[in-house]
Point group: C2
Chain length 447, copies 2
Amino acid sequence: MKKRDEQLHLGAFIYYTGHHSAGWRHPDSGVEQMFDIQLYKKLAQTAERGKFDMMFFADLLYVYGVDQAASGMLEPLTLLSALSQVTERIGLTATVSTTYSEPYNVARKFASLDFISGGRAGWNIVTSQQDIEANNYGKDKHPEHGLRYEMAREFVDVVTQLWDSWEDDALVLDREKGQFADPAKVTAIDYKGKWYSSKGPLNVPRPPQGYPVLIQAGSSGPGQDFAASIGEVVFTAQQSLAAAQTFYSEVHAKLAKYGRTDQELRIMPGLSPILGDTVEEAQRKYQELQALIPPDAAVRLLSGMLSFDLSSYPVDEELPDIPDPVEASNGMKSRIQLIMDMARKEKLSILELGRRILGARGHMQFVGTPEQLVDLMENWFHSYGCDGFNIMPPVLPDDLTDFVDKVIPILQQRGLFRDEYTGTTLREHLGLARPQVGHFRQAAVTS
Amino acid sequence: MKKRDEQLHLGAFIYYTGHHSAGWRHPDSGVEQMFDIQLYKKLAQTAERGKFDMMFFADLLYVYGVDQAASGMLEPLTLLSALSQVTERIGLTATVSTTYSEPYNVARKFASLDFISGGRAGWNIVTSQQDIEANNYGKDKHPEHGLRYEMAREFVDVVTQLWDSWEDDALVLDREKGQFADPAKVTAIDYKGKWYSSKGPLNVPRPPQGYPVLIQAGSSGPGQDFAASIGEVVFTAQQSLAAAQTFYSEVHAKLAKYGRTDQELRIMPGLSPILGDTVEEAQRKYQELQALIPPDAAVRLLSGMLSFDLSSYPVDEELPDIPDPVEASNGMKSRIQLIMDMARKEKLSILELGRRILGARGHMQFVGTPEQLVDLMENWFHSYGCDGFNIMPPVLPDDLTDFVDKVIPILQQRGLFRDEYTGTTLREHLGLARPQVGHFRQAAVTS
C-alpha cells in the first residue's frame, strides 16, 4: 500500500468571485473587484495565512452568458506573477490550455514564474473544452477529445524538454574569462513531433523546481492515462468516497506503466463547502444560493453540457431521453457521466438538476458544520480516497476566510494539516521530489 | 508646427544586465541576479524614483552565444506583472512579438496587466528578426520583412478590436436583477482576416487605458508606415540630430494618411549614456567596456547582422565588399544601413566596427559628463529631433542609478523633466488621450 503523506494537501480554487455559479449575486461576493488586483491579493494572503499548499486559478478562453453569469477573467499567469510579490510561501498554480498556446511560450512563462516566485509555480494542464474557444483562435472546431490528449502529451514533452535544455549548473558567470554559461550544458532539443516542433534551447535557465509542478484535471479514460503519465497533482470531480477510492486506485495502478511510483502523485478532488454554525444555517445558505440561479440559466447550462437543447421541455419534469450524451459531448466526458447518473438516481427535474450542477458544477457540494466537514475530509484522506482537496469556496472572498478561520484550526488540532510551512517551494509543500533532467522523457520511453 | 509637450519623456530600457553587450562582465553589473526578481524590483523602483515615464523591456525569442554573451531573459510580461505590485506610478511596457503569439492571448494579457497596474501597461509591438526564433516555434523560416509587417498590422487590428469588444460601461453588476453585464455592450468582433481570425468578444472588459499604449520600433520603410498608422510611441535608433530630425518629420508627415494628428505620437530614440564626472573618466569607462568585447564575438555578430561570414577576413582591415547587405538581411533593415554608412565613413576595421556596434548595438552612444548629456538631450528635444529618449544604461543596475542621481536633477533644474508624476496612467505621463472604442479601426478605414 502507498505510504501516505502524514498530512493532507489543500488548494484554494479561485473561479470568478466564487465557485457557485450564482455566488457573485450573494451579498458577500467581491464581484465589484473582479478585475481588481486587491481582491486577489486578499485571497492569496488569506490562503497563505491558512497555510494552503497552493492557490489554484481556473481559466476559460471565452465569455459566455454575460447577461446573467459572472464572466471574463483576468489572465491567470498575470495574476500569479503579481501575487508572487505579495506572498512568500504559498504555491501559485494556474490553468493554461495546450490547445491554444505555443509550447515555447508556455515553457518560458512558467519557468519565469518559477524564478520570480522562488520555486512556487505549478501548471494545471488542460486541453480546453468548446468550439467557442476555437473560434477565438481562428479555428472552426475544437479538436476531438482523444486527439486533444494526444496533442497535449506531445506539448508537455516539448515543454519539459525545454525546461531541461539548460542543465542545473549551466550558468558560469565568469566575468574574468568572459564565460556566461557552459555551452556544453545549454543544448538544442531539436524536437520534431507530429503536432509540435521546437529547436530550443529555451531562453531561460532550468527553473528552481526543475519543473514547475504539473497538475492535470482529466478524469476520463484518456485523461486518466495522461494523468498517470505526467500528472504530479491530479484535480478531479468525485461525488462519493466509493467513486473517489476507485479513481484513486485506478490512477495509481497505471503509474507503473509509465515508469512512475506512488510517491510521485497527489490526488486532490474538488470540494465546495457551504458552512454554518449549525446544519440548519448551512442548509439555509445553500437554499439561498440555489434560489439565485436563474431557471433559464440552469436549463441553458444543462443543454450546453449535454449538447442537447432542453429549452422546449417543462423544467419541472425529468430529463427526456438523450441520445448518447457522453459521446455527443466533446468536453468533460467523465463529468457528463456523473450528471446523468445523478439525474436518473435521484429522479431530479430539469430545473433541480440544472441548479444542482450549476451550483457546484459537478464537484462535491458539502453543506454542514466545520466539524462535519473535517470528519468527511479525514475519512476520505484515511480511506485512500484522496491526498487532499482543492477547496472551492462558493462565494469569494468571504467563504475562503471562513474556511481558514473555522476549518483549518480543526484540521490542525487533529494533526491533519500543517501548523506552519516547513518548505519554501511548492514541491516541498506537496512532498514531491525535484525532477532530474530528462525525468518525464524517461517515463515516455518506458510507456 | 507641432505643439510640443512642455517636457521630455523618458523610458528606462532594460536589456540583460545592461545595454552594452559586454556590460555583464563589468564589476558593477548585477549579472548574478539576472534571473532574480530582486534585480528588476531595484531597477523599477530606481526608475520610479527618477520619475521615468516607463520601464521598457526588450525581448528575444532565442538564446545565442551563451558561451560569451549574457543570454536568456525572464519573460517580460511576467516581470511587469510582478513589478506592478512594487511600484505605483511608472509605466510598464514590454516587447511581445506578433509573429509568435496569438492575438487573443496578447489582447488578454495586456488588458490584464493594464487592470492590475491601474492603467500603466504598454505593448512594444515587434515582428521578431531571425530564423532561429522561427525554429523554436516549429517553423523553418522567419517570414519575410514586408510580409511580417502586413501580418503585424492585421494582428494589431484584431487585438484593438478585442479590447473594444466590451464597451467602457458594459459591466452592470446588478445583484438584485442578476445582471452581470449588458449583453448589447459585449459583442463578438467576427474578425476574419487574411492571417488572423477571432470571433470574440475578449474575456476581459475594456482596459483602464482603453488600449494599453502602443509602442512601435520599426524605422525602415514599412516600419515607418506601421508606426504612423498605429504607433503612439516610436522607439528608434538615430545616430545624429540631422537623421533624427528627418525621421521625426517623415513619420509625422505620414500621420494624416492614417487619419491621425501630431498629438497622437511620441518619438523616443534610444540613447546609451556612458557618464563620468569628467570627459576623461567617461572615455576611460567606455574604453574599458569596449575592451571587454571578445574579438570573435564582434566578428560573429557583425557576420550575423550582415548575413555574410566575415570569419576568414583579417579583423584589423576594413569590411570587404558585401553584396547588397540591406536586401540580404531579413531583420533590422534600417539598422543595417546605418552600420554600413558608419563603416565606410569612418574607415573602421572589422573589429572596430564590430565592437562599436556590439557596444551600443546601433543606438546612439554618448560618452561624457551629465551636463553635456543634458545639453544634447535639450538640443534634440528643442530641435524637433525627438519627444524624449529611451535611456539604455550600459551596465545595470548601477548606470541607471547614476542617471537618476546625476542626470535627472539637471533635467529638472532646466525644466525639461517632471519633478513629480502628475497623472496615474502611462497615457497621462505621455500626454496621450484615452482612445475611444474603434479608434484605430477608424484610422485603418481612412488609409
